[in-house]
Symmetry: C2
Subunit: 208 residues, 2 copies
DNA sequence: AAGCAACTGTTTATTAATTAACAGATCAAA
DNA sequence: TTTGATCTGTTAATTAATAAACAGTTGCTT
């Protein structure tokens, strides 16, 4: 199977997030119409996405088996081995999410870097807190490849340099300064752009 | 001029963020090749975007006048009147960004809601801190239409309900539970999806 | 003032993504 | 066992987005 497009990967991630809740609710099957209602994607898009990853319905009248679909998506999205990630610039909501809500055995938050002292509320033996000063050395010694960067824009570039220099290969950049790199993978989630986009479409669609 | 596509709006926001730094650096002109290098978009895409909003180069040999381009983008992206926004679930980096880095006279952070007590570091007379208990009443009395939702997934839906009920017309959802609404504008910036996407492409592009 | 170089503005072509359409398979009910 | 409703899997059509191509204009240089 070849590489999938960015949009397909996004949707697969989204389907799985929904299905994991479904699974807990003892719903054994799901069809494309139901998924369409939950996701906003059309039925055809969903079936096509599943076709691309070789996920087939075994019971054509009831739709897809939730467990099967999750397994198929797991095979595509989960890294081969444990991926240790770090959060640079604290955010209680993210920390809580990554530690307690995101139960993916293949991806785990192992370090949080901040200026502040330790926040006792979020301490586990498999997750440690560090001061910014320890950034380079800790990233290197823990062999962290993927980092969520959540610092004010004034620190974005210098922090990114430290990270790349310490061996990081992917940055999810939540800071308001756009990062661009050919050497590593960068995903910019720019809050300023999000606000301006929201304002624009709220104006046009006359929600306001 | 008609409504622009989501991608064009995103790029315009991005161009402006770059140009505002350019402007400070006393660079009077910029051409599409330079912008292309900074943004990753092709020259043609950039020229086409600018054409769409009626932004023209007055000096065809030097490229676009930075000031003019910013003015053109302002006209398209900035709301007619002051847009008061709120941050629900604190995040020091975002608060700092929105208060001190994002100097847009048309969009202003006026309220932060959190469980914690006041963080003295971020207090200004035009921005106030509130407890979650005050969410509904404060949103309504301050007439806030756009909110950044930054809470753990367990609280996403109930908080969104309160917000919508209080008159909010747009939510930028940073929590790990997808929101979908036909009544209001929703922009999901899902950190779980971002992580899974990054892992996927890092694997395929062999950055790891 | 003539010629050249640089960069835009716009049209046309190409590629990507989404939606529509429908044949085929299978389960359920009568 | 037959009929029919339902939902998939896949191909074809449409739409959206990007990239290429190039004519046209202007300023700079000689």
């Amino acid at each position: 199977m070849g590489i999938l497009s960015s949009k397909v990967v996004e949707r697969l991630s989204f389907y799985r997030q929904l299905l994991l809740k479904y699974d807990n609710a003892q719903q054994s099957h799901v069809n494309s119409a139901q998924l369409s209602r939950l996701t906003g994607a059309t039925q055809e898009t969903i079936r096509r996405d599943l076709m691309l990853i070789g996920c087939q319905s075994l019971n054509i009248r009831k739709g897809y088996l939730v467990k099967d679909m999750v397994d198929c998506i797991n095979k595509v999205l989960d890294p081969f081995e444990l991926s240790r990630i770090a959060l640079v610039g604290d955010n209680d909501a993210f920390t809580e999410t990554l530690l307690y809500e995101y139960e993916n055995r293949h991806i785990r938050l192992v370090a949080v870097f901040d200026f502040d002292t330790v926040n006792e509320a979020f301490c586990r033996n498999d997750m440690q807190r560090f001061h910014f000063d320890e950034l380079h050395d800790t990233i290197r010694s823990l062999d962290i490849r993927l980092v969520i960067l959540n610092v004010p824009g004034a620190f974005t570039c210098q922090t990114a340099d430290i990270l790349i220099n310490a061996g990081v290969k992917g940055i999810i950049n939540l800071s308001p300064v756009h990062l661009e790199s050919k050497a590593i993978y960068v995903e910019n989630l720019n809050i300023i752009t999000a606000i301006e986009k929201a304002s624009y479409f709220m104006k046009w669609r006359q929600y306001v």
